[in-house]
Every structure is written in C-alpha cells, then in structure tokens.
Amino acid sequence: MSVLLAADSLELAYGDAPVCRGISIEISEGEIVALIGANGAGKSTTLRAIAGMMTPRAGSIMFAGQDITRLPSHERTMLGIALVPEGRHVFPFLTARENLELGGFKNRRDNAKVRRMIDEIFDVFPRLRERSGQNAGTLSGGEQQMLVLGRAMMSEPKLLCLDEPSLGLAPLLVRDIFQTIKAINKGGTSVLLVEQNARYALETASRGYVLQTGSITASGLCAALAKDTRVREAYLGRAAAKAGAA
C-alpha cells in the first residue's frame, strides 16, 4: 500500500496559543485510521490542519506525492481531501439537495454527473430523498449527519476526514453511520476518523493514533491499542481496564 497522506512534525497554534506539537501521521491508500484522545487533546485541530482550515506553524503535509502544507482548503478539496466538520455544518437555508449539489462543486460543469451522484447518495440514504426539497436546517441530527457524509462524498475524495461523526446521535444511528463509513472505505476511499467514542473508532479503523494534550503518545494497530492498558483506562472506561488486567 502506498502512502496517501503524510503529516510530518506538525506544530499547530491558534494565534500565539500552541495546541499541537510534533504531530506525525501517515495514512495509506485504502486504510481507515483513527485519531482518539480526550476532549481538547487537539484531534479536531489536527484534522483542520489536514483539511487546510489552518496553516501549521511548522512541519509539512504531503498528499498523493504533493506538498500541500500551504494550500487553502478549497484547493485541497479539489485534490481529493474532504472533511466532515464537527457539528455537521450543513448549509441551513439551502435544501438538502442543494447541499449535495455544492458538495459536487468540483463537477459543476457536468450537471448530468452531479445528478447521477446525488441519486446514488439517495440510494444509500433513502431518508434524504424524502427530505430533498427541505431546508437542511430543518432536518434531524441523524439526517444532517447523513447529509454531510453524502455531501463530502460528492467531491469524490481520496481521503475522507470525519470529525466526531457519532456526536449527539442515538446509539442505533451511530451503528448505521459506522457501517456506512466502512462501506465508503470498501469503495476505495481512505478514512481519517476522529472520534471520542474510542470503542467504535478502534473497531472501525485498522490503525490508530492516541493524542494527549497536543502530542501523539501511542500509535499502532487498533487491535493492539485496544489491549493497551493505558488506552483502556483512559478511553475505554475503568471496567474495561480491569477486565483487561484480569
């Protein structure tokens, strides 16, 4: 497997306030990689840097053999990086269908293709077809999550970055969303998954990185991380840690 994305020693800051240091992450083609860690560990910040919503103070990001460290987010989308931001961020006063159309902005000169892709997404999420003419802001949380996933897929990404896709969703829906993420990955899209629900994240991904107060403190295959006592204690709950020790 060849390397799709390689972030090397990223240093990230908001203004003068440093958030992350020495972040190095690699994602191979076809892989699902999880980024886990507590609230405020810098997971979202790392994702924002990869999607181009902030420029790192130091370090570099290579994507498909190209240096993208200083590229703005809209150019990265054109290269094949899609980000589903935390809190979903639908365009509330555009209809569900218009949200999907904008996801396909890359293909705006090919209306037939955009229509065909929207139909494919409606086949995956039949609920969205029912809601297609409704303003996205009036959809339920679960529907909005489907919409932003579909919207991200409309740009035909090579790498799909997801920030907390399970946040605020009912447990049953969470299972559905993770099923969908796996299906998207089977279709050939690499996935970088940021998730507070470490159990789901480690089950879905093949490799993982653990972020703690702005640095990577552990990394490896998810199966191994799930057995790591420190990871269990910190992110999978005390009971799991005891069960693992016993």
């Binding site: 809209h74 989308t77 555009l94 904008l102 902005f105 705006r108």
Partner: protein
C-alpha cells in the same frame, strides 16, 4: 377620479421604489455575504449617474447605452474597492477597518467628483422623459416604462442566478458558512469578489436611472443612500426578498405622502416607519426567515 389618482401615485411609487430596490439590493448583498457595509456605495450610484450622462451625450442621446456604461463603471468600481479595501483588510481579520476605510473612499470619491464635475447641478434629460402615454386617465413617460422594465428584468435575473445556478448557490453557501463553503472546493474570495462586483454594478445602474429624477451633483448618491439603508433595515439586513418588498413599500409611501400629505413629510414618514420597525420587528418584514442571509 380618486381611483385614477391612486393608480397614478401607485405607478410613480413603483417607479421610484424599483430604483431604491436596485441600490438597496447591493447593500444587502454585501452585508449578507461579508457582514460589511460599503459606505462608498452612494458614490458608486453617483458615478454611475455621471457615466450614463456623459456616455449618453457623447453618443448623441443613446440613454440605454448610458445605462450599460453605468453598469460597467459600477462593476469596475466594485472590483477596485475589493482589491484595495475589502480583500487586504479581510486578511488582517479586523471587522471595523473595512467600514472606516469605505467612509474614506466615499469622501475621496465625492471630492474627486467635485473637482472634475463641479458643484453646479447637471440637467439630465433623457430622450424618453418627454414621451408621455395616457392609459385610463393615468400618465406615464417612456422613461418610467424603461425604469420598470430594466429594474424588473435585473431583479428577476439576479433572483434566478441566486436560486438556480451553481455559482448562485455557492454564493448563498458562502453567506451562510464561509469556512464550510471552502471545504466544498468553493473559493470564498472569488465569490466575495463576485458579490461586490454585482452589488456595485446594481448601484451604478440605479444611478443611471435615478439621476433624471434627482438633481445630479457629486452628492446625488448620498441623498439616496440614507433611504437605501432604511430600506435594508426595514427589509431585514441581508434578506433579498425583504429588501425588494421594503424598497417598493418606501417608493409607494413617498408618492402617497406627496399626494395626500406634504412632500416635506416624506423623510419623517419613512424614518418613522424605520423606527417603528426597529422597535417592534427588528428582524425585518419577512421575519420567519430572519436568519437567512442572502
């Protein structure tokens, strides 16, 4: 007889109102997308009026080409103010600076026009002002027909652009959530540029058609812009449909105040309405959709 007077004043009100709509739409679009106010908008109106005046005279009375010239001059001014003021100051991230800077641009343009064109009012007579029709007791000039036709077409085209084209939808997306629009592959800076160019073209075009109604001096735009601001507030800042409604409403209020009260009371009535709106319905006429910008 009274019905005729009402009809006559309604026509006058709509003619005036549709010009206010053109000017106010530009302000509301820029606010909707950038959350900024362009104080030089008034001077784009004036410069559009002068452009129309000079082009019309140079071409021996081609008023319609004058309107086109005003539109182009407005668009060019919008492009210029974006690259000199809005774009560089946006990179600095300060929200107050562009506002102050546009006041500076406004003062500069007014004084430049004063130097070039002088303080004496220009008489802007178009070849169409004298052609009067009479229909069922009401009078209107070919000039008013042109104003209504051009404004209505422009507003309809703008509306269709925003509603049905990819670029128009992208523009609304940038207005609603600039960062997320970037994630769609949309370059927000390009769309902000487009918004300012469209808005300023509308201002120039409005000027070309307002000037024959008003007294054309370097300060002509300033007298209209205060009303345009009132319209934008009555319609709900950033709300396109509200602005169209409010513009027509203010035009009608003006013509009926002139007929039944006193022309001197126009500003009192309009700004009285503005105060009432601010007190009781600060989100504008169409408040169900108050959070939508553009």
């Amino acid at each position: 007889m009274t019905a005729t007077i009402v009809a006559q004043q309604a026509i006058n009100g709509i003619v005036l109102g549709s010009l206010y709509v053109l000017v106010a739409l530009g302000l509301t679009l820029i606010y909707g997308v950038l959350v900024q106010i362009n104080f030089a908008h008034a001077d784009f109106v004036t410069l559009g009026a002068f452009a129309a005046y000079f082009v019309m005279h140079a071409l021996g009375g081609q008023y319609l080409l004058g309107i086109v010239a005003a539109l182009l001059v407005g668009a060019a001014l919008g492009w210029a103010i974006n690259i000199t003021v809005f774009a560089p100051l946006r990179r600095k991230g300060n929200e107050l600076l562009p506002l102050i800077a546009t006041i500076g641009v406004s003062v500069m343009l007014q004084n430049a026009m004063l130097a070039w064109f002088g303080p004496v009012p220009y008489a802007f007579e178009t070849p169409y002002s004298q052609k009067v029709f009479r229909v069922a007791g009401t009078f209107f000039t070919l000039q008013s027909v042109i104003i209504i036709a051009v404004s209505a077409t422009t507003i309809a085209l703008l509306y269709a652009f925003m509603k049905f084209t990819f670029l128009g939808k992208a523009l609304r997306a940038v207005a609603q959530d600039r960062e997320t629009a970037g994630l769609m592959g949309i370059n927000p800076n390009t769309l902000i540029m487009l918004t300012i160019v469209i808005s300023s073209a509308l201002a120039g075009m409005g000027g070309a058609m307002l000037a024959p109604v008003l007294v054309l001096t370097p300060f002509a735009g300033a007298s209209v812009i205060v009303k345009a601001f009132a319209i934008v507030i009555i319609g709900g800042f950033g709300n396109v449909e509200g602005t169209i409604l409010a513009g027509l409403l203010v035009g009608l209020i003006e013509s009926f105040t002139t007929q039944y009260l006193d022309p001197g009371l126009i500003d009192i009535v309009v700004f009285g309405l503005l105060l009432l709106m601010l007190a009781f319905r600060p989100t504008g006429l169409i408040s169900e959709r108050r959070e939508e910008n553009v």
